[in-house]
Amino acid sequence: MNTSILSCKNLSYTIGYKKIFKNISFEIFASDLTLLTGENGSGKTSLLKLILQSTRKKEFSWDKKLLADKEQNLISYLGHENGLYSSLSLRENLTFFNGILKNPMPEAKINQLLEIFQLTKRLEDPVSTFSEGMKKKSGIIRALLARPALLLLDEPLNGLDINSTQAFLKILYTDFAHTSILLVAHEIDKISPFVTRRLHIYKGELNHV
């Protein structure tokens, strides 16, 4: 049984008058790939954004060893926006985001990821000139730089071609096999071989499937 790295108890969340969650509780376990599903607008992205603030919210509690580890980045996030400065080049973006991490990724490893996603030749170009798929791949590399305890991925397969999807899933399954991943996706058939747990949001309630 894997140990819990993050637990959430009785979390409620409203936007305006709309209640998104009613007292939901869940746990994220070490090395698990948890799939989060639900209808459009059910609150999947909101839940990921709340987890981003988990160190400041009383409903969440992190594993104390992880919190005390000075070399471990807790969370990394890839949302609908790729989180890259579009006027900066891919190299400038990666240098910045790698530079602010507790434990930066070695350059050789970054180059390897760039090779896998076929972005090496576009390293000096501004991100604004990239296609949607290339922006998504750049966002994935940016999110992987942190090698975090918990990797939050919100529909990461959107816009990826078949080869890139396979390459990405392979990276998750090999290099990030010991990372806890919470992933939102609608392409359940592509993800399901890797999934160890599944959570489903329905009408403000979170069910363990």
Partner: protein, 218 residues
Amino acid sequence: MFKYLLLKEFQLIGRAKNGLLSLISLLMAFLFIFHYSLENSGKLDVNSIVGLKWAGIFLLAFILISQVTYEERESGAYRITRLYIPSHLEFLAKSFVLFLLLFFVEIFLLLLLFLFFENLHFESENLFGQFLYFIPGTLSLSFLGVTLSQMSFATRLKEVVLPILLIPLSIPVLIAGMEAERKYFSKGEVNTSSLIVLFAFSVLYLSLGLLLREVGED
């Protein structure tokens, strides 16, 4: 960490060359219109030129603040940066770079004022008076602008927050700056109390920015 933050801010500004060029063109057009419509019909006195200078400073601050915060908001990079960098460091780095940028554009504004208006003489005493007050004034506007732009990320009104709050909160700084300079140019001596008031505004808006940084969170 702070080194990477500053580098990124300078790189973002470096990519906004077109915006800066537009700003300089706007500044030249703004002063030329005043020069053509007022200076030609009778020389503007120093007090009026001081007012014109602070109007220019406000205009520059307003446009630059909107410009430097636009990309943070649009790309979602702000949310990612906040995961790894304490928000007070982010606030200080952005304020510092905005201050530097405003400072250099304001030097250009001063040169234009000397060029367009005859009653402003290019003398060391004059230059000292011009710099003495606009440095703390610009510092206040930088802190205020970054505070409000961070607040605007978290509100549903987004960029509407900026003009709604920036204008009323800038007015005390502008009035203090103009009054201080008028006293300096009429009496020829440094008014310490005005200088303290301007620095107090800087400290106030710096504190406000640091205290309200949590508002900028999601």
